[in-house]
Structures are given as C-alpha cells and as structure tokens.
Amino acid sequence: MKKNQIVLITGSRKGIGRHLSEYFLALGKQVIGCSRSESDLDNEYYTHFCLDVTDEVAVKEMFSQIRKDYGRIDVLINNAGIASMNHFLLTPLNTVEKIFMTNFNGTFLCSREASKLMRKNKNGRIINFSSVAVALNLEGEAIYAASKCAVEQLSKVMSKELGGLGITVNCVAPTPIDTDLIKAVPKNKIEELISNQSIKRMGLFEDVINVIEFFMDEKSSFISGQTLYLGGIIK
C-alpha cells in the first residue's frame, strides 16, 4: 500500500473512525477527518474539519479546501453513521429522516465530491459502511438496515458509473463492535445477533481495518461494487 496516500475519513472523532485515523497516521498517511464536533487527535499529518456530512454547502467547502491544500484524495472512507433501535410501529418519522440523512445522504454527498477530485488522477477508492443488519433483517433495526441497504445499492451503481474513471466503490459490513453506536442496544440483542454469525464473537476494530486495507490496496483495482460481510455472515 502506498505510504503517501491521502485518506479522508468521515466520523473520525470517535469509534471506528478514530481507530482508522490513528492506524493510518501510524502508517505515515495523510489523514483528513471530519465530524460534527472538534477532534482532540493531535498529529501533524491529521487535518480535521468540523461539519455535518448532511450539510451540502459545508461538505462542498471542505472538498474545495482539500482541493486547494492537497489537490487530490486517494481514499474516502464513509464511516459517519448513526443508529436507532426501535419497533417499526413506534418509529417517529424524524428518526427515519435523521438516520437516512447521515447514513445515506452523507455517504452520497461525500462520495460525489470526492469522485470529482479522484477522477483527475483516474484513481480512487471509496469505501462505504454497510452492516450485518442488512443481511440478518434484524427486528428493531428496520430503518437502520434500510439505510445501510440503500448505501449498498448506491455503491453498486456508483461502481458502474465510476469504474471508467478508475474509482472503485466497495462496502464493508461489520458485525457489532464495542462502540457508542451499539451502547444503547440491549445485551441479549447483541448476543442474539452474534449467534447468527458463523464466527461467534464481537467484531474488533482490526477486523474492519483489515477489510478496508484490502479495498485500498493497489492490487485491489479490479474489485468494485462488492460488500464484504464480517463474522461469516452470508447474505
């Protein structure tokens, strides 16, 4: 993997995004992160933008600044995401809107703007986040799973439209990992979910990083439009 890659990670302040940022910084990459709040990640090769990925003007301004400062982006990791567990009958519409805005619209906006930069070099990797909730049709996660299913579908069509520009688009679908995203999910629900996996354990940050590095690898230029489910989940 190239050392001097420029990697943009959304939702980089905490959780998987923070781990990814620290990991790629340790490998000597230039990391650009963004989140709604300021980050305390202090590294000379890290730049943080404070923004909401659903805000089109703010997203365009970030990419405009990246264009001026770096002139390119090699990898976009659309990690920013939110979840809400609720019975379908009890789900307020504004919860649906919030989940889709961040998980789908945010992925769409950042991918669109990143692709404009990537096409110049005829090279780019876009890595989106799906979830095992899509494959497992989890009760209580109708809206979250639907938003991630939309991300998968978006990724498939994007892979076709961007293939000629040298940009690959793939998804990683993690199992539950010990982050804020699942802290409100009851323990028995997590255990039930893990029981559906072929490999019955909680996911680790390293599991996700492994897949992302695989998609980022120069040798993966022939892989696009795919979703890789962790934990031996079969869709």
Binding site: K60, S64, K116, R119
Partner: protein, 100 residues
C-alpha cells in the same frame, strides 16, 4: 457581490471546453461559436463526456470566480431547453446562476 458579466463567463466556458478536449480525447468543433451543440441531438459529447465537462466547469467557476455552484440541479434538468444542449445555453444558464 459584483455582477459577473457574460463575457467573462463565456471566456471561462470556451477555455474550459478547449482544455477538456485532451481529457476527452476528441476534438470539439467550435466553428458555430455559441451555437455549437454539446449534448443531445447532434451533440458532440456523450453522457460521460458531459458529466466530466460539467464538473470541470463547476471547478473553474469556483477557482476563477470564487463561486460554488451545482450546474446539474433540478432547475437545469426540468427546463424545456436544456442548458447543456449548446454552448450559448450553458453560458446563459451559468450567468443566471452566478448572478443570484
């Protein structure tokens, strides 16, 4: 914001299309000036060519005029006469967008 005149936009668009020829790997015939057809019936660009040109023009507008615009928005798509059919239509449309 100072009003940006049509002449400046026209210069930007023609320069952008001229530079785009290398990327598009095809020569674009400008002999009809602003009446030059870009996209649609007898247009010189295919759909991917149009997408790339539109993105290039958006970038040039931002870098040269300091204005961030989305050219392919709903207004553009719903017009009876497409802003992307001829160079002149495109210039008119950009003038309309940046003067708002």
């Amino acid at each position: 914001m100072n009003k940006i005149n049509r002449e400046k936009i026209s210069e930007l668009v023609f320069n952008c299309i001229k530079n785009f020829q290398e990327e598009y790997e095809q020569v674009i015939d400008f002999s009809e000036g602003e009446q030059t057809r870009l996209f649609g019936g007898n247009g010189q660009l295919d759909s991917l060519g149009l997408v790339s040109l539109v993105v290039n023009i958006e970038e040039d507008i931002e870098s040269d005029l300091g204005i961030s615009v989305i050219l392919a928005d709903e207004r553009a798509m719903s017009r009876r006469s497409s802003p992307f059919s001829r160079i002149g239509n495109l210039i008119d449309y950009i003038e309309e967008l940046v003067s708002k």
